[in-house]
Amino acid sequence: MLTPASITADLDGVLRTLASLGRVLDIAILGACIGVLLLAAVPRLRQHLKAATGVLAVTLAVGEVVLVWFHLRLWQICQLVDPLTGQVSGSYAVPLWIESEKLFVWALLVAAIAFGVRRHEDDLRPMLAVAAVALATGAVLLGKPFTEPLPDFFAQYSSYLAAWGSGSADMAYQAFRGAEASRLYYYNAWYMWVHPPLLFLSYGAFVASFAATLLMIVRKRSSYEQTAYRWARFGYLPLTLGMVVGMPWAIIAWSGDAWWWSGKVNMSLMMWVMYTAYLHSRLYLRRRGMWRVVALIAVLSFVALVLTYVTTYLVPGAHSVA
């Protein structure tokens, strides 16, 4: 029979195992990051950079597999029970790219792109590898997905368990209602399994596009511009699709909340219009001096992407953790 104590005991066991695995993984990831940085910094050793980037990508992929296991265990353990009826309302299908795991997924994607990039690989790989290192380091040291996983999820679920075990029917029911709403409209929502990964895919492609744009600006070679464009058009599709599927969900889930013109929505709109403007302006690239305008819009578009990401943590609102 499910009780708050039995759930807590099972969860403690899983969290201990995750932390043990995570300590090893953190060291492996940071070690791989140091190796990649060294090889990227020393031109004579760059011939081994692809292999080192592959090691980083594989290490991050192993970490992702561990997180998949962790989320499967959460699905098995974290049940919501209606305290009034005693009925189990369901489990949590927590997406793999929220809270402390966002940066981790992004790092994995950029590391995979850095490993797999072909066009202008000698120039692009060092830049992308350094970007992957920055993201992976941030994921390990700031996100802490193994040692301090899913802080918001556990804060709410622990409160629910505490209220359920408190003996107060009112308190337990209030906590259940809040947790059930989060489960249905956030953690288990189909949208959360589609929207974030599409955006992270586009972010990864835009990092590559930005790196190629910088190369174009510095070296003034049109082939870099073509590479930047190819990555941007690759990223624009999942960006558009990800944002389009967001609106119907927002209308339903945030009904009655002030979400229109909220910080994250604003900045996402800004990023999308900037990339739309970039792809539009590029149609006239062959006009005299137009490449400078296109390069400027490409740089501004990437700045908008970075601002969109950090807005989640800085500006409060419906789509924010600030």
Binding site: L237, T240, W261, S262, G263, N266, V273, L283, Y284
Partner: protein, 198 residues
């Protein structure tokens, strides 16, 4: 003939500059709005309860003329595929006049815009159908039938999206129309950008 081609290229370029400029203005507004919200959250206690509704009104009021201009430019982009330059000016002016007339008679700017967008959507549907059928006489910057059809679908998706925002917020068809615009936008992006060689 050469002069006509040059004039059309210049017209296309002007529309592109206007589109990019308007998109940039919308982006700048988003940035400034976010900075203001960030400042307000930090300095005005309970701002979400007391000031957020006013903030949305101001943002809507600022965005409205930019969005209207974007819709008008988009409306001008659509018939340029089908009509010669002189006819294009006539058709564009006719569409604007129809929108303004309906808006003035009904007393509703949204209704006027909705009529203008509906006319644009009709023409764009014809453009997409003719492109897919391989009909000659349509002018595009892009090459290849798939890329051309994608470009047409992309514009149609934008128009339907604008139509949803402007005139279908309370309609039971809002969600299906929105999903249709989403399919056209993403499908059109895929066909338009991925079918090009470079």
């Amino acid at each position: 003939m050469a002069e006509e081609t040059r004039a059309r290229a210049s017209w296309d370029f002007s529309l592109m500059v206007a589109t990019v400029g308007l998109l940039g203005a919308l982006g700048l507004q988003s940035l400034l709005g976010t900075l203001y919200a960030w400042w307000a959250y930090r300095t005005v206690p309970g701002w979400e309860q007391t000031g957020y509704a006013g903030f949305i009104d101001v943002m809507n009021a600022i965005a409205a003329p930019v969005v209207i201009a974007l819709i008008v430019v988009m409306g001008l982009c659509v018939p340029k595929r089908m009509f010669a330059r002189k006819a294009l000016m006539g058709v564009s002016a006719g569409m604007i006049a129809a929108g303004v007339t309906v808006g003035a008679v009904s007393g509703s700017l949204a209704t006027g815009l909705a009529v203008y967008l509906a006319l644009s959507a009709l023409i764009q549907v014809a453009v997409v159908v003719l492109t897919l059928a391989g009909a000659g006489g349509l002018t595009y910057i892009t090459e290849g039938r798939v890329a051309k059809a994608g470009s047409g679908m992309l514009h149609l998706g934008f128009i339907i999206f604008a139509l949803v925002v402007v005139g279908m917020q309370d309609s039971s068809l809002m969600m299906p129309a929105f999903m249709l615009s989403g399919v056209l936008l993403t499908g059109g992006s895929a066909m338009s950008f991925y079918a090009r060689g470079r």
